[in-house]
C-alpha cells in the first residue's frame, strides 16, 4: 500500500526540511533527491552534503482537483479546493516535485520563478508531516 510511515518520513527529513542535496565527489553534480550512485556520472557513491537554495523555475505543473488527490490530501482538496503541484528546476540543476502555495492556481505558469518554504504537508496517524512547498518568488526573477 502506498503509505509512508512515520519512520520512513523521518529518514527523509534532511531533504524535506532543509533541501540537502548530495554533490558527487567525482563529477561535481548535485543529486536531489539522493541516489545510491550518482545519476549523472554513474561512477561514484561518494557525496558531499550541500544545502540547496530552494530557488528555481516551474518546469511543469498540474492543478489537482476532486478525484485527483491521494486520500492523504483529500481533506486539503475538500477544504481548499484545487491545489497546484509543480516540478521545479532548481538553480543548482536538479528538478524536484512539490506543491505550490500562496498562489491562485490560475496564475501558475511554466517558467514562473519560485522558492521553497517549510510548510505543513499533511497529517496521518496523528502526526503532522512538514516539508517544502514552493511559493512565488517576490520580485520575480
Amino acid at each position: 500500500m502506498a503509505h509512508v510511515s512515520v519512520p520512513m518520513y523521518w529518514r527523509t527529513i534532511p531533504q524535506r526540511y532543509r533541501l540537502v542535496g548530495m554533490q558527487c565527489k567525482k563529477c561535481g553534480k548535485v543529486n536531489f533527491p539522493p541516489k545510491g550512485v550518482c545519476k549523472y556520472c554513474n561512477a561514484s557513491s561518494e557525496f558531499a552534503e550541500v544545502r540547496l537554495s530552494g530557488k528555481g523555475k516551474v518546469h511543469t505543473f498540474t492543478l489537482i482537483g476532486a478525484g485527483g488527490a491521494p486520500p492523504e490530501f483529500a481533506e486539503q482538496e475538500k477544504a481548499g479546493g484545487v491545489y497546484p503541484v509543480t516540478i521545479v528546476e532548481l538553480e543548482e540543476g536538479p528538478k524536484v516535485i512539490g506543491q505550490m502555495a500562496d498562489v491562485n492556481p490560475k496564475d501558475v505558469t511554466i517558467g514562473m520563478p519560485v522558492r521553497a518554504e517549510l510548510r505543513r504537508i499533511y497529517e496521518e496517524e496523528g502526526v503532522v508531516r512538514y516539508g517544502f512547498k514552493f511559493v512565488p518568488l517576490e520580485g520575480g526573477a
Binding site: P33, T60, I64, G68, P71, I97, Q99, I110
Partner: protein, 388 residues
C-alpha cells in the same frame, strides 16, 4: 535460440463484475483461450504459468499465480506471479517467451488478472498509487492522473499539443470500444463531451483517464517448431524489448519522452529486424490520453512533438494506415492492471489472424502488429512485435 509463437489467446469480458472472483475471471479467460486453439488444447502439456497481477487490493499477494492456476486445473506447474505495475501482463508474455526460447518448457501459459472493484474507492487509491515514486510524487499530492498531467502540460508547452488532441484520443478509442463486445465501455463519445468533462488533474479531465476494471486474459505460447501441432495460423513473436526508467518523473532526462518506451521499442524492432514503418497495427498503453500521444512519438510512428497532428490526420483511426487501439484501448476496453498486457496480445492475435469477434472491428490485411505496455508513469515498459 528457438523462435516463439502464440497459438491461443482468450480474454474475459472487461468491466465491473461484483459476482465474479479473481479465480472465476481468470477461468473465463482461460477457457476462452482453450477454445481458440484450433487443434485442441491439452492442459497436460503446459509446463509454466506466468501471471501478471498488481495486487488486487492486497487480498492475495502471495502465491497468486499458483492459486489461479490450480483453480483452472493446472496444479504442479512452474507458477509465477509477474509484477511490474500496469506492465505486468506484457512482462508475463515476454517472460513466457524467454522460457520457451531458452528451451526450459515447450508450452507455457502467459496471462494476467486484476479485480479492482472489490475494494472501496479510497482503498483503490492507496493500492493504485503504489507504482510511482511514493516518497516524493505521492507526498507532493499526486496520483497517476497528476503525474501524466505534468507530462501533458509540458508537452503542450513544448510542442503545441492541444486540449482537442487529447480528447480526440478518447473519442477514437471509444468509437473502437463500441465495437468490442468485451470492452468495459461499449459506447461512443463526442469531442464536445470529452472536452468538457470535469477536471481531475489539469490539463487532464475525467475523459482523459482510464477507469478501474475487473478482467483477465490468457495466452498460450510455444516454440515456432511445435506451433503447427496447435494451429495452421500461429502468430509469431518476432521481437520484444523491455526497459526500466527512473520512477519519479523529476529524475528523468526528458519530461515529454518515455525513455523506457524508446529503448524497449529499439530492442524489439532490432530483434524482429523491422522498423516502425513496418508496423501496420498497434495496441498502445493509453492509460491517459497523453500516454497514447507519447507512444506515437516514442515508438517512432511520428516525429517527436508531432503526435497531435499525426492523430488528427487520421492515421491511427481504425480506417487509417496504422490503426492504434482497435480494441478500444485501456480507455474504452478497460485497464484491469495485471491483465492489460496479455489482453493486448489477445486482441492482436485475433486481428492478425483475421478472426476478431465482431467483424466491424476487424482491420483487414494486417500481418504485423506491435504491443506497448507501460508500468506506472514509465518506470517499466515492454514492447512486443507480433506477426503472422
Amino acid at each position: 535460440m528457438r523462435k516463439v509463437a502464440i497459438v491461443g489467446a482468450g480474454q474475459s469480458r472487461y468491466g465491473e463484475f461484483p459476482d465474479k472472483s479473481i479465480k472465476e475471471l481468470f477461468l473465463e479467460a482461460y477457457q476462452d483461450m482453450a477454445k481458440s486453439v484450433d487443434r485442441g488444447y491439452d492442459p497436460k502439456r503446459v509446463g509454466a504459468a506466468y501471471i501478471g497481477n498488481l495486487g488486487c487490493g492486497g487480498f492475495q499477494l502471495g502465491n497468486m499465480s499458483a492459486l489461479v492456476s490450480e483453480y483452472v486445473g493446472l496444479p504442479y506447474v512452474h507458477a509465477m506471479r509477474i509484477e511490474n505495475a500496469c506492465a505486468s501482463g506484457g512482462y508475463a508474455l515476454v517472460t513466457a517467451a524467454m522460457d520457451v526460447m531458452a528451451g526450459v518448457h515447450d508450452v507455457v501459459l502467459a496471462g494476467g488478472v486484476e479485480k479492482m472493484t472489490d475494494v472501496s474507492g479510497l482503498k483503490t487509491k492507496y493500492w493504485l498509487g503504489v507504482s510511482g515514486d511514493t516518497e516524493y510524487e505521492r507526498l507532493a499530492g499526486t496520483t497517476f492522473s497528476g503525474l501524466y498531467a505534468l507530462i501533458a502540460q509540458r508537452h503542450m508547452h513544448e510542442f503545441g499539443t492541444t486540449r482537442e488532441h487529447l480528447s480526440m484520443v478518447a473519442v477514437k478509442n471509444h468509437k473502437n470500444g463500441a465495437q468490442n463486445p468485451k470492452a468495459q465501455f461499449q459506447r461512443e463519445t463526442t469531442l464536445e463531451k470529452a472536452m468538457k468533462a470535469p477536471m481531475v488533474a489539469a490539463p487532464l479531465n475525467l475523459f482523459d483517464c482510464c477507469s478501474t476494471t475487473d478482467g483477465a486474459s490468457a495466452v498460450l505460447v510455444t516454440s515456432a517448431e511445435k506451433a503447427k501441432e496447435f494451429t495452421d495460423t500461429p502468430i509469431y513473436i518476432e521481437g520484444f524489448g523491455t526497459a526500466s526508467d527512473y520512477l519519479a518523473i523529476h529524475d528523468r532526462v526528458a519530461t515529454t519522452t518515455l525513455e523506457g518506451t524508446r529503448r524497449a521499442a529499439d530492442q524489439a524492432y532490432k530483434m524482429a529486424g523491422v522498423g516502425p514503418k513496418d508496423i501496420q497495427i498497434a495496441e498502445v498503453h493509453d492509460c491517459f490520453t497523453i500516454a497514447e500521444l507519447l507512444a506515437y512519438e516514442d515508438l517512432g510512428f511520428c516525429e517527436k512533438g508531432q503526435a497531435g497532428p499525426y492523430l488528427m490526420e487520421g492515421h491511427t483511426q481504425i480506417t487509417g494506415d496504422r490503426p492504434v487501439n482497435a480494441s478500444g484501448g485501456l480507455k474504452a476496453k478497460g485497464h484491469p492492471i495485471g491483465s492489460t498486457g496479455t489482453g493486448q496480445a489477445y486482441e492482436m492475435f485475433h486481428q492478425l489472424r483475421g478472426d476478431v469477434q465482431k467483424p466491424t472491428r476487424q482491420v483487414k490485411g494486417v500481418e504485423r502488429g506491435l504491443l506497448h505496455n507501460v508500468g506506472g508513469s514509465g518506470g517499466t515498459v515492454v514492447v512486443t512485435v507480433l506477426a503472422r
